[in-house]
């Protein structure tokens, strides 16, 4: 074995050429990609493209219909809620989004507190009681529908008499049979935890409740899907999940039924508009929100994702939910104040992860 490799001057000489050749390949390839991207982003005269960040299952159809009707190009960032919010926070010094449409008002309250949302906009619509309960005082965001978090899904072949209250879940009868989601992975789960805490009279009492639930064998899965899979496989018999997920599961497994335990927390799907977007884009975003709350827009919402997000309760008078949804008459609903509970989200989720998940 030689101690030193022999390097002839000649062996180094062509490296510059390779670098230049490599750079040329990269430049040509990226120029091609950029040209395609630029062509896609060219707006029509008089309007600017509306950039919609959305995690809704029906958003593609909704934005396509809106574009057709108003001849406004829409660029849709269809993603999970987590990455959308990460992107917004990372780009807040120079935001590129126009409108955000996801479930849960707590994130919007946080964005509003950072002055990142347009305030004072309210579409000219007739809200029902759910809509009025979800509308913020400063009108910094707009509710477009409501799901419930959490409802109890169960296998009716195995559970003839499901529990009737939140406290009943702590009884020995349901030991090791209850499952729920992890709030640090499932966005809608934090409002559920906050709702339980609010209903019981405070954070401390809520922590005691979840600690008892853990002592009774609570199974925590990351999100709605795995929790429902655990229900289907028989690992658990009671799944605390979002109403749209629980009711949607019925389409694939007819043995799954749902029950609403009082009080159940409402989880609005919400539109907010970027306060730093160009004025024209803000106008278009307001038009989009109004369109979503029109009869045509609500029709798309109700039909666009029939086994998923379309299973919502409307927030407008005169608009009925899909027939499969149980009526809310006799169900006690509650709202959490997102401006109070939003800032506590990280601390409560951390506590849940370190004390309940572990």
């Amino acid at each position: 074995m030689h101690a030193h490799a022999q390097v002839s001057p000649d062996s180094r000489r062509p490296r510059g050429r390779y670098v230049l050749a490599g750079a040329a390949v990269a430049t040509v390839a990226l120029a091609g990609v950029q040209a395609t991207a630029t062509a896609q982003r060219t707006p029509k005269a008089g309007v600017v493209p509306l950039v919609v960040y959305s995690a809704q299952g029906y958003d593609k159809l909704e934005t396509e219909d809106f574009s057709k009707k108003y001849h406004i190009p829409v660029q849709l960032n269809d993603n999970s809620t987590g990455p959308l919010l990460t992107e917004i926070e990372a780009s807040k010094n120079n935001p590129k989004w126009g409108l955000l449409w996801v479930d849960g008002a707590t994130a919007f309250a946080e964005l509003d507190d950072q002055h990142l949302l347009v305030r004072g906009f309210e579409p000219n619509v007739h809200w029902n009681s759910l809509g009025k309960a979800a509308l913020p005082a400063d009108k910094s965001y707009v509710p477009t529908g409501v799901t419930l978090m959490a409802i109890m899904a169960y296998n009716k072949q195995k559970v003839a008499h499901p529990p009737r209250s939140w406290q009943a879940l702590l009884s020995a009868k349901w030991r090791g049979q209850v499952g729920m989601n992890d709030p640090s992975q499932s966005g809608p789960t934090y409002p559920f935890i906050a709702g339980i805490m609010q209903n019981l009279g405070g954070i401390a009492k809520g922590k005691t409740y979840f600690s008892k639930l853990k002592a009774n064998g609570l199974v925590v899965n990351p999100t709605n899907g795995p929790t429902l899979a655990a229900l289907a496989s028989g690992q658990i018999n009671l799944a605390l999940v979002q109403s749209s997920a629980g009711i949607g599961a019925y389409f694939s497994d007819h043995n799954i039924a749902v029950k609403y335990l009082n009080p159940v927390t409402i989880l609005p799907s919400v539109i907010g508009i970027d306060a730093k977007a160009p004025a024209q884009e803000q106008k278009e975003a307001e038009l989009f929100a109004s369109y979503v709350l029109s009869r045509a827009g609500q029709k798309v919402m109700k039909t666009g994702d029939p086994t998923g997000d379309s299973l919502y309760y409307p927030v407008l008078s005169g608009i009925a939910p899909r027939g499969i949804l149980p009526p809310l008459s006799g169900v006690k609903t509650q709202s959490i104040n997102p401006y109070v509970w939003g800032p506590k989200e990280n601390a409560i989720n951390s506590w849940f992860d370190s004390s309940i998940v572990k």
Binding site: S11, R17, Q40, E87
Partner: protein
């Protein structure tokens, strides 16, 4: 230092070109010959090229990572807090769950790299140096292991062994298997299985460059099999240490296993803690950056070991005098053990995840009835909107792989020059980049390339496909270079010099002398990058241009919107497509590449 000196052009090259110095024609009328010499000075071009290369690396990797990591000490830099300077986030990572997760990540990654080595080296040797039946399928199966996103095997294992999982439902009541797999052992095992292909690729590339003459020399001097091995293993040291380093870095940055099996096992890993910081609302980028610093720091350990192992040695063994290695016939006992090893590995690495993915995609009811149906696949092919994103990801993969291999080859060239400061810096830089999870790159790219100042200059890269592809290249290049460095280290300059001595130009000499020896490693590196990009998720989620979602985002959209079966069916289709491309590329290489290219380093039967 010796290599650094070699980087400098000979003194003659520093002389001003004729016509430009004091003796230049003062009327400025250069003759044609003088002008030509001015236009192309190879030494100057080499130095300019290297400078451009380092600038490119800085823009692609250093700047975005630095922007993200700086937030750990200066959150206000990008509006993520009120402090211009603080050490509180860095102090925070040494306490509580984060500290535990970091320690877990370090030992788990070291163990996984060890498993990768223990399993990968024998399989590479069996595939390249023996007449093992079915050896031709090993490379393809390794590619399938690499193509699978790491969460898929983890989900497959969970589905099999979890309480009320398939194992229990078919009557196998083995709780000890559940507790073993759903714990640290399972995490190490899964990450270790994933390290095997990296070891296999690097060792295979090295074995192909290792001619029979070294083994013959040992045997001639009376060495037995073990003594021969003691001679050969040090020659393979660059590939072995590279495999350890890349296995460690890939494991420490893995998120798929951390977010699935490790999470379910209540066994926190650092990448999950980093994700929890970024995914919370509002996200704590400074907290995530502090964890990022420690991940970057962790790669110093394998790098130091590598530097110590390779110090002062040369590994240029592939020259015109290299002789084809002999493929040996295995003894019956050796054959049995080898088959158990190879079949066992692929059963565990491919069988279980394959079962998990296929069973999820073939069940329409969350697994309640175990009744297979094609309803999810019908949904995929009828109306899932996957064709556009899949086509897009294919194009992104093609572009990314092509550019990445070109840049990765240059990196491997620099890395192969042991002893130079620039090589050591590059080594650390690339491995540190491997150790950082994709979400760090994604957020770093937003911080670095969405500055208001850039927008004012008309440079709006954020939310363009260009930036996404650039980020893909940046995130793929470190692994790519690592895979190539073993093969590149073995190239003896005599291969090129021989062609030069016979009058070939520099480019032609490289194409005729070196390219044949590197063609297969380059193809492998290309396929590795392509496969990785096709289903890449964290960068895609944060950087894709609105309206142009890649395949992984479309699949995740279904998985996150209660359409679990359809999402899994889409993943199976995408993995199938990736594997088809791998097969196609290998087939084209077999048909089109000159005979000599295909047989470089290939053994001959005993």
């Amino acid at each position: 230092m010796a290599t650094l000196q070699h980087d400098l052009p000979p003194p003659a090259a520093l002389e001003p070109p004729e016509g430009c110095g004091p003796s230049a024609n003062r009327t400025g009328s250069f003759d044609r010959r003088r002008l030509d010499r001015l236009r192309w000075d190879p030494q100057l071009a080499a130095r300019g090229g290297l400078a451009a290369f380092w600038a490119l690396l800085a823009a692609l990797i250093v700047l975005p990572c630095a922007c993200f990591l700086m937030l750990a000490v200066s959150p206000r830099l990008f509006g993520q807090g009120s402090q211009w300077f603080t050490l509180s986030y860095l102090r925070g990572v040494f306490t509580g769950t984060t500290a535990v997760s970091l320690v877990d990540s370090l030992w788990v990654s070291a163990a996984a790299a060890g498993i990768g080595l223990l399993v990968g080296i024998p399989i590479a040797w069996l595939a390249n140096r023996t007449l093992l039946p079915g050896r031709r399928f090993i490379a393809g199966a390794m590619w399938l292991v690499l193509v699978l996103p790491s969460w898929l095997p983890a989900s497959g294992w969970e589905r099999l062994v979890q309480p009320d999982g398939v194992m229990y439902r078919i009557g196998l009541d083995f709780p000890f298997i559940t507790s073993a797999i759903m714990g640290p052992f399972g995490v190490v095992l899964l990450l270790g299985l994933r390290c095997v292909p990296f070891t296999y690729l690097t060792i295979t590339a090295a074995l192909r460059g290792l001619g029979q003459e070294y083994e013959d020399a040992a045997r001639t001097h009376g060495a037995g099999r073990m003594a021969s091995l003691r001679l050969l293993i040090p020659i393979l040291a660059p590939a072995i240490t590279s495999a350890i380093a890349i296995g460690f870095a890939e494991s420490v940055s893995d998120f798929g296993v951390a977010a699935t099996l490790a999470y379910r096992a209540n066994f926190p890993l650092a990448t999950y803690q980093l994700f929890a910081n970024v995914n919370g609302f509002p996200p704590s980028f400074p907290g995530a950056a502090a964890i990022g610093w420690l991940l970057v720091g962790s790669v110093a350990v394998p790098l130091a070991l590598q530097a110590r192992a390779l110090r002062g040695r040369a590994y240029r063994v592939l020259s015109g005098r290299s002789r084809p290695a002999l493929r040996r016939r295995l003894s019956p006992r050796g054959l049995g053990a080898s088959l158990i090893l190879v079949i066992g590995y692929f059963s565990v690495a491919l069988g279980v995840p394959g079962f998990g993915a296929l069973s999820s995609s073939l069940l329409s009811d969350y697994g309640a009835s175990l009744q297979p149906t094609l309803v999810n696949y019908r949904a995929v092919f009828e109306n899932s909107g996957l064709s556009g994103p899949l086509g897009r990801s294919l194009i992104y993969g093609l572009i990314t792989a092509t550019v990445t291999v070109a840049l990765g080859f240059l990196c491997a060239n620099l890395l192969s020059r042991r002893g130079s400061a620039s090589g050591a810096l590059l080594d650390f830089l690339l491995l540190a980049a491997v150790a950082l999870p994709g979400v760090v790159f994604g957020a770093g790219y937003i911080f670095a390339y969405n500055l208001p100042a850039l927008s004012h200059l008309g440079l709006s890269l954020y939310q363009t496909t260009t930036l996404l592809v650039v980020a893909y290249i940046a995130s793929s290049m470190p692994t790519n270079a690592r895979v190539l460095v073993g093969a590149v280290s073995q190239i003896d300059p005599s291969l090129r010099n021989a062609a030069r001595a016979h009058g070939a130009s520099a480019t032609r000499a490289w194409a005729r002398g070196v390219l044949p020896a590197l063609s297969r490693p380059l193809l492998m590196a290309w396929l590795l990058t392509f496969s990785g990009i096709l289903l890449e998720l964290p960068l895609s989620q944060l950087l894709y241009a609105p309206g142009s979602p890649p395949a992984s985002v479309a699949i995740e959209d279904n998985l996150g919107n209660y359409h679990f079966g359809i999402g899994t069916a889409q993943a199976v289709v995408a993995v199938g497509l990736a594997f088809a491309v791998v097969g196609l590329a290998l087939g084209i290489f077999r048909l089109v590449a000159p005979d000599g290219w295909r047989h470089v380093g290939e053994g001959v039967n005993e």
